[in-house]
């Protein structure tokens, strides 16, 4: 796995501080019976950001991404995407929200096993509005699968399936890409391919929220948010460094690999 030096994305945030955030989470709570998966999480996402959402298993990462994607509902709190509070949307509005605003990439790919690569991509077009085979072919070519159009998922490698899933996520030009451990089931070579695709997407201006356990993959993101037991414990735009040194303000670099939230200001200043 090769890691890329991080281009400081916080520059875009600071360059236009008056821009309203694309996503606003306020005191988000999710409970499953007596289990509190999210205990009042709040943060904003600016358009064009790539955020790595990290934390141990059971910390609420997938729950957060599911609520943000309209796949699950919050117990309380507010989630506004482009100014629309999605916690107030009814089921049919959530369907349109998922179809039009969100691109999902899952760890398990979640392709329809009896549809070809091309048909899996076209299915997203079908649910969005209308199918356009030429566009779907082009999307698959962009992820390097121009020669796998008529293959069923079972005939594709894990990396190829994930690339089909990415093509499907992007086909409707979503504002926000939610990726839940997209490289979790991939070998190193395919991981590189998929991460490169995400890098290109980010450079093209897509907003990406990516759940990952892998610090190396998280280094590609411009911002890292960490959850522990449903609470936000880290939110930093600080650069990931190849060799741990000192944070810019002189404090020792933490073992987690980046400076703390409080350090971010000085880091970016």
């Amino acid at each position: 796995m090769t890691t890329q030096p991080l281009v400081n994305p916080s520059a875009s945030i600071q360059a236009a501080p008056e821009m309203p955030p694309q996503v606003v989470l306020e005191n988000l709570v999710k409970e499953y019976g007596t289990l509190r998966a999210l205990g009042g999480v709040s943060f904003n996402i600016q358009a064009g950001e790539w955020i790595a959402l990290m934390g141990p298993s059971g910390s609420g990462k997938t729950t957060l991404i599911n609520i943000l994607g309209g796949l699950d509902t919050a117990t309380s709190g507010r989630v506004a995407v482009n100014g629309v509070d999605i916690t107030r949307l009814d089921e049919s509005e959530l369907v349109r929200y998922r179809a039009e605003k969100i691109g999902f990439v899952f760890q398990q790919f979640h392709l329809v096993p009896y549809l070809t690569a091309l048909e899996n991509v076209m299915l997203a077009q079908y649910f969005h509005s209308l199918t356009n085979e030429a566009q779907a072919v082009e999307a698959l070519k962009r992820v390097g699968l121009g020669d796998r159009l008529e293959h069923l998922p079972g005939k594709l490698s894990g990396g190829e399936q994930q690339r089909v899933a990415i093509a499907r996520a992007l086909i409707n030009q979503p504002k926000l890409i939610l990726a839940d451990e997209p490289t979790g089931n991939l070998d190193e070579a395919n991981e590189d391919i998929v991460i490169n695709i995400f890098r290109e997407l980010h450079q093209a201006g897509h907003t990406i929220l990516m759940v990952t356990h892998d610090v190396d993959i998280a280094r590609n993101a411009g911002r890292r948010i960490e959850l522990t037991h449903g609470h936000l414990t880290l939110d930093t735009t600080c650069a990931f460094l190849e060799t741990p040194k000192l944070c810019p303000h002189g404090k020792p670099f933490p073992s987690s690999g980046c400076c703390t939230t409080l350090d971010a200001k000085s880091c970016n200043s």
Binding site: V112, M122, A124
Partner: protein
């Protein structure tokens, strides 16, 4: 419109993939639906054919209209008769479907010429047009090599026993001072009053009873429903004023009752078969519903509404029902032809109306059988992805 056409093409594309995703299961569902359609089509065809068939079967039981002398003449005469001319006024009914007989009854002394034994017996003289009663053979047609110098007669078994006569014997018929003779064509045992009768030709009995051109009764067998028989009788009554025309209601009503019972039985059997087919399809669909939870969750996650996703699966069920219906109903109609032969001895005529009805019923069965798919409507993608039930 190209947009709509594109989406319709995609719908058809996904549908085709759904249908052939699991060929083994496709075969099982098609087999269940085809079998259900085949049996229901066969029963429906037999049911539709049964009315016509029963009418035909009842015809073999004998006449369904009788013409008798009026009651006023009964009061004045112990052996009332009506004019034979009335027989000719009865409109001809199709010979292959019905017929009429003119009959005259008389009591005479019957003697066995060979043994000299004698007994009193009822004589029946009859003339026919068409087939009225298989129990009254037309002697002229079946005489074979019997000498035709004498009229033929059929002797009931009881009379034959009393006279000790056999086929080909000559018997003497005496009434008052008159005497006639006939050659025994056959001896029969019917288990009814005919066992005590001697049947012969009409002219002989008219001569013996001194009732020229007279009949005791005219029996008519008319094809058709109870209503059409009643209607025929009413028309006949208008033509024959000096006699009483009566439909034999017990036959019409019995006919209706038996048809009603057979019809009810076939309807119940059809409903049972269709219910069993629904259960078979439901079992397969329950399996499909469990298998496709993840697919539905994913489809909803990428923007598929419950309605659009379910419409795919319901259309799949309709297509399966239609295909199963087309195959099964065709097989069923062939089965009904065999069934008709087995039950009535005559092949059931294929009724075209049965085919679309069977196909429509099978489609309905497939839709009802797809009931377990309703579970997919309420699937929440996050729940499915978490691996929860």
């Amino acid at each position: 419109m190209p947009i709509a056409r594109n989406n319709r093409a995609m719908f058809a594309r996904v549908l085709r993939r759904l249908l052939f995703a699991n060929r083994g299961r496709l075969f099982v569902i098609l087999l269940a639906l085809s079998a259900g359609a085949a049996v229901s089509a066969a029963l429906l065809n037999v049911q539709t054919d049964a009315k016509r068939r029963l009418t035909a079967e009842f015809r073999s039981f004998g006449p369904n209209i009788v013409v008798t002398p009026r009651i006023s003449s009964l009061e004045n005469d112990a052996s009332p008769t009506l004019a034979e001319a009335n027989f000719d006024q009865v409109p001809n009914v199709p010979i292959n479907l019905g017929g009429k007989s003119g009959e005259l009854y008389a009591i005479a002394t019957v003697l066995n010429e060979r043994t000299g034994l004698g007994v009193q017996a009822v004589l029946l003289g009859a003339r026919f047009e068409g087939g009225v009663d298989p129990g009254l053979p037309r002697f002229e047609e079946f005489a074979g090599d019997l000498p035709r110098t004498d009229p033929f007669c059929v002797v009931g078994s009881k009379v034959a026993a009393a006279l000790s006569v056999h086929a080909r014997d000559k018997i003497l018929l005496r009434k008052d001072s008159r005497e006639e003779s006939c050659r025994v064509f056959m001896i029969w045992s019917t288990g009814d009053e005919r066992d005590s009768q001697i049947s012969t030709n009409l002219a002989l009995v008219q001569r013996l009873a001194v009732r020229p051109s007279q009949l005791s009764v005219i029996r008519i067998r008319v094809p058709g429903s109870a209503e059409s028989i009643e209607s025929y009788a009413a028309l006949l009554q208008q033509k024959i004023q000096d006699a009483e025309v009566r439909p034999l209601r017990q036959f019409s009503e019995a006919q209706a009752k038996i048809y009603s019972r057979i019809s009810g039985l076939l309807t119940a059997a059809t409903a049972l078969i269709l219910a069993l087919t629904i259960l078979c399809v439901m079992a397969a669909m329950t399996n499909i519903a469990a298998e496709r939870r993840n697919d539905v969750g994913m489809m909803k996650a990428i923007g598929g509404s419950a309605r659009s996703v379910l419409s795919l699966f319901l259309t799949e069920a309709v297509v399966l029902g239609f295909a199963g219906g087309l195959i099964g109903a065709a097989i069923g109609i062939v089965i009904s032809i065999w069934l008709g032969k087995a039950v009535f001895g005559v092949a059931a005529a294929p009724r075209l109306i049965v085919y679309p009805i069977s196909v429509a019923l099978t489609v309905l069965v497939a839709i009802l059988g797809a009931y377990p798919l309703r579970r997919l409507v309420n699937i929440r993608p996050a729940t499915v992805f978490r691996g929860e039930a």
